[in-house]
Amino acid sequence: MDTGSMDRIVKEALSVGRKVLVEPEAKEVLRLASFPLPRSKAVKDVAGAIDAAREIGFPVALKLISPDIMHKSDAGGVFLNIMDEQEIEEKWSQIILGVADDYPTALIEGFLIEEMVKKGAEVIIGCVRDEQFGPAVMFGIGGVTVELMKDVSFRLAPITREEAFEMMGEVKGFPILTGYRGQTVKDLDAIADALIKLGDIVGRIEGIKEFEINPLIVHERGAVVADARAVLR
């Protein structure tokens, strides 16, 4: 785990007065910890987006990069399964106009063009730093309703593999990962790896206050980080 480079990413963001890591930065931290990530490229304009999409190959995801918008999809800043160049242009304008209306002061740093992740079970993996107890890792069944359902479990980091499995078993939605209603059994070891590693990252990089992978898309073999964000101290 290249903690030196992780630390640099965090310090650079802090040095320009930012309180968050935007998605490409958060994912870079995860890449340094060997998390599996979809191929992606950060771009500044439509032409760059089209080039990137060609390089990665359609369909792609188009996502807004803004340090002022934490939950991009709620803000209309995410479009998935974009099939061609024309659609990129359409969705690009749609995001820009939507942000201009709803978040006129938000800084737009650019966009992320990303390979579409194969469907799977969506889980949320997070870590918060508590002032008294240090980093605590969270596991939950993913999606935007996670705050509503609160079907999550916590452990203080660092966690063992056994604790990671306990965390999974504690949520009510656990059967979704183990073949509920004809679904395939998902790669629980990959989830455990992610939980353990995320706890390690926050444990080692002092500048991180919260780090969240939502969703982590879990397949029969492996799990891919579809989106990530971090709050800095």
Binding site: I124, G126, F133, A136, M138, L156, K209, E210, E212, R229
Partner: protein, 457 residues
């Protein structure tokens, strides 16, 4: 930092000074002196420059004037006078219990006094419990600084349970209930604002204290989380540690912006901390009392398999339901045990788990059922729900069960729902050394708590 743990002055003192001693009725110091004269076996020195004698004991103008070093000084002075008094004592008392209120809990002025007290303690190398606390009730040394008159709040007898509590009133109320139920304690510490000695220090001491068999903690807030987890882990490795945390509604990470940050309230973090430290989580005062009674009278269960023996079929099923809800299992009888019981009992007994001895139950049938079901490795504990209607049941029942015919270790939890007659029987179970509860749910909660002592798993 790991503080040097020298709390022996608090738990095995041979001499005590009561600073601010007075004969005036209703005064805190008077209650403390009275208690000490009642139960403390060491030397007692009242300190107050205004008297030559208090309660027939020679009174000294200052701690220094006693002339020989003493183990413990109890300060019952107005907050404003405490820091100077501790400083002037100059370390001639190894430990200090400051029961006075009026410190950080009251605002900035009190906080400044607390800082001064901390400084006085540090510079004189005095360990301090408090301020704003009730101090120590200790059945081993006979020390009692809880300044509530004994006619208002009973003191428990000697036992193996130790309680540490940020709140004095919480501790003292639990003590009173335990005393009424005939359940003993080893040490009770109310440490209030914890200017020096905190829960982690107490846990370090209790982990190694042979008199303490189980520890119950009441927590409002913990400052040094990692140190607490270390100390609690060491303690829970050798004896059960359970805790109630109040103030659950408090929100966590302020201005949190991720979903994780929004969900992670303070209580979720405390729960995670308890899990890390092997602490059994208790949910409120009632749960705290149930756990204190359970661990005060018996030790933990090796697993989650519960046998239910009753003379009321409906109560048995109700208990089985509660067990399932609380994550305990109620496995059926093994074939050989079932056959043996069927052969021995009338055909109208409900042989199974729950085992229903019906209105024809006798003391002997309870004891026989207990012996047959608990002697093999089929169950980890038993809930005996005795309804007292059957005329053949006598007051000998608790004593017969407590002999644990055919087994030794496994906990027996008694449950006697009902009115006045049944409630009076609870005392008989406690006298026999068995935890007993008046509702099935409380009995099952006790079973659940006993099954969580992980150090034996």
């Amino acid at each position: 930092m790991h503080k040097k743990n020298n709390l022996s002055a608090f738990f095995s003192p041979s001499s005590i000074a009561v600073v601010g001693a007075s004969e005036a009725t209703g005064k805190i110091s008077g209650v403390i002196l009275e208690s000490l004269r009642n139960s403390f076996r060491g030397a007692i020195y009242p300190v107050n420059p205004r008297y030559n004698e208090v309660m027939g004991l020679k009174c000294y103008p200052s701690i220094e004037a006693i002339g020989s070093p003493i183990d413990l000084a109890v300060y019952a002075l107005p907050a404003g006078a405490v820091p100077e008094a501790v400083f002037n004592a100059g370390g001639s008392a190894k430990g200090a219990v400051v029961v006075s209120g009026g410190f950080a809990e009251t605002g900035p002025k009190g906080a400044a006094l607390e800082k001064a007290l901390k400084e006085a303690a540090r510079s004189t190398a005095t360990r301090v419990i408090g301020p704003n606390c009730m101090g120590i009730y200790d059945t081993v040394s006979g020390l009692d600084t809880f300044f509530i008159p004994r006619e208002r709040v009973q003191r428990p007898g000697r036992g193996g349970l130790s309680i540490i509590s940020q709140s004095g009133s919480f501790a003292v109320t639990a003590m009173d209930e335990l005393a009424t139920d005939g359940i003993g304690v080893a040490r009770v510490v109310s440490y209030g604002n914890k200017v020096d000695v905190d829960e982690a220090d107490c846990l370090d001491f209790l982990a190694e204290d042979p008199e303490t068999k189980a520890v119950a903690i009441y927590i409002e807030s913990i400052e040094n989380g990692r140190r607490f987890i270390e100390a609690a882990s060491r303690c829970s490795a050798v004896k059960p540690v359970m805790a109630v945390k109040v103030g659950k509604g408090a929100s966590g990470i302020s201005a949190a912006r991720s979903h994780t940050g929004a969900i992670a309230g303070r209580y979720e973090i405390y729960r995670a901390a308890f899990k890390k430290a092997g602490i059994i989580e208790l949910n409120g005062y009632e749960d705290f009392l149930v756990a204190c009674k359970a661990f005060g009278l018996t030790s933990s269960a090796a697993g989650k398999r519960v046998m239910i023996i009753t003379d009321g079929g409906g109560m048995g099923v109700n208990i089985a339901d509660a067990c399932e809800q609380m994550g305990l299992s109620v496995p059926g009888l093994p074939e050989e045990v079932e056959e043996e019981l069927r052969a021995a009992f009338p055909s109208y007994y409900g042989v199974g788990n729950p085992l229903d001895l019906t209105g024809s139950a006798t003391d002997e049938s309870f004891a026989f059922a207990l012996s047959k079901t608990m002697s093999g490795d089929f169950y980890d504990m038993v809930i005996v729900a005795a309804l007292w209607g059957p005329p053949a049941l006598t007051d000998k029942l608790p004593g017969m069960l407590a002999q644990k015919p055919g087994f030794t270790e496994k906990p027996i939890i008694a449950c006697t729902p009902g009115g006045a007659y049944s409630r009076d029987r609870i005392r008989l179970f406690h006298e026999a050394g068995l935890p007993a509860f008046s509702t099935p749910e409380a009995a099952v909660r006790a079973a659940s708590v006993l099954s969580k002592g992980r150090w034996r798993l």
